[in-house]
Subunit: 230 residues, 2 copies
């Protein structure tokens, strides 16, 4: 059985990495079964052979693949007869920007608002590492980052305008059906709801309708996962 090392919290079934969620949704899209292995920041030795120390890591027939974009490309190439994640070479090229938008705009915009909640859900052995490394990255304490998140929310919501305009005009980023572009972006929202009760989206935001569609996909994979009802 193929395996995916998947970031987990103190509760083994609380899975909260946006990048791991991309991989899980991509595997489900490909209709490929996978055993997810709860992984903590403290477990770097078990994935040492990737040379990275980060998840997701997919192990498929003895092959180790790490990095969510590499995993998506691997799955597309290794299982061409399965439903396509990209819809062809053009779609593959056009999908890269979505992953980069999520990596460089969406996830960094979310991170300060979520960091303290992540820490609260981390396994005990991960908390000191997480606090130290993330406070260095943020340049302030996790508590300080959380304290002004209400004030940051309008700018964060404004930054979602390209997504909002798109999913107001079509059901999925991929059009009438979801593609990897959808998963690349959805990972951020699943990350948030997995560890935080903070309400990111206004009640009438079209992004909420799209997110609900994403939650329902693949037998409700993301919907059934441990998360808050935000």
């Amino acid at each position: 059985m193929r395996q995916l090392y998947d970031l987990a919290g103190a509760e083994a079934d609380r899975r909260f990495s946006p990048y791991c969620w991309r991989a899980r949704m991509a595997l489900a899209h490909k209709e490929l079964e996978v055993e997810t292995i709860a992984w903590r920041y403290d477990d770097k030795p078990v994935i040492a052979r990737t040379g990275e120390g980060k998840v997701p890591v997919l192990v498929d027939g003895g092959r180790w693949v790490h990095d969510s974009w590499a995993i998506a490309n691997y799955l597309e190439d290794a299982y061409p007869e399965r439903p396509s994640l990209f819809g062809g070479p053009v779609g593959r090229a056009l999908s890269r920007f979505y992953a980069n938008w999520a990596d460089a705009t969406l996830n960094p915009g979310l991170f300060p608002m979520l960091a303290l909640d992540i820490w609260k859900h981390c396994a005990p052995q991960d908390q000191a590492y997480f606090r130290r490394s993330r406070e260095t990255r943020l340049g302030r304490t996790l508590e300080a980052a959380a304290a002004d998140r209400e004030a940051r929310l309008p700018a964060f919501r404004a930054s979602l305008a390209p997504l909002r305009l798109t999913v107001a005009a079509q059901p999925f980023l991929g059009g009438t059906a979801p593609l990897y572009a959808d998963y690349a972006v959805f990972g951020a929202f699943q990350w948030a709801r997995a560890i935080s009760e903070f309400v990111l989206l206004a009640e009438d935001d079209p992004i909420r309708t799209w997110r609900d569609r994403m939650l329902a996909l693949h037998g409700g994979l993301a919907s059934r996962a441990k998360a808050y009802p935000v």
Copy 2:
């Protein structure tokens, strides 16, 4: 001959609308000849039948099409035998987000830095209208918006990260060849260079290399246009 109403400055050959540049590049991509008609804000009556008062407006065989996204879709559907702007239905769906990213993030980020330079290049009959309407939008004078553009530049450059990461990894947003996604984004950069000497991109920014590729396309269409050597 088909015609495109194309925003022009005091000099009839200074064409500076990001949305018109999308349409011009799309027409060139489709290998379709077009007569561009210099249009000023004061010329709203000549395009009154669109009900919008905005360019680009394409007139093709008696059919009037307005809005850059609608024009791209019209060209793709009306000329299916010509080089594709989207690379198929999936590519079309995936292209919408690029136009929305440019509309909602890139162009608004640029506008305050460019507004005074646009005003300087406007036809005399347009200057009062442009100043009044844009100062209302900006909530301050054109001069005030220009005065702090150096200070805004680092945040603007940071906002380009998704584009930068993508074109550092592949020649075009569309992959190995340009697609409408490239034109949707490139329009912003052509807008800037058409009316401003302000240097937006660092010398070593990979976006500059991509922009040079875009400038060279279709016989150097954008490169040959009246602009500043920034």
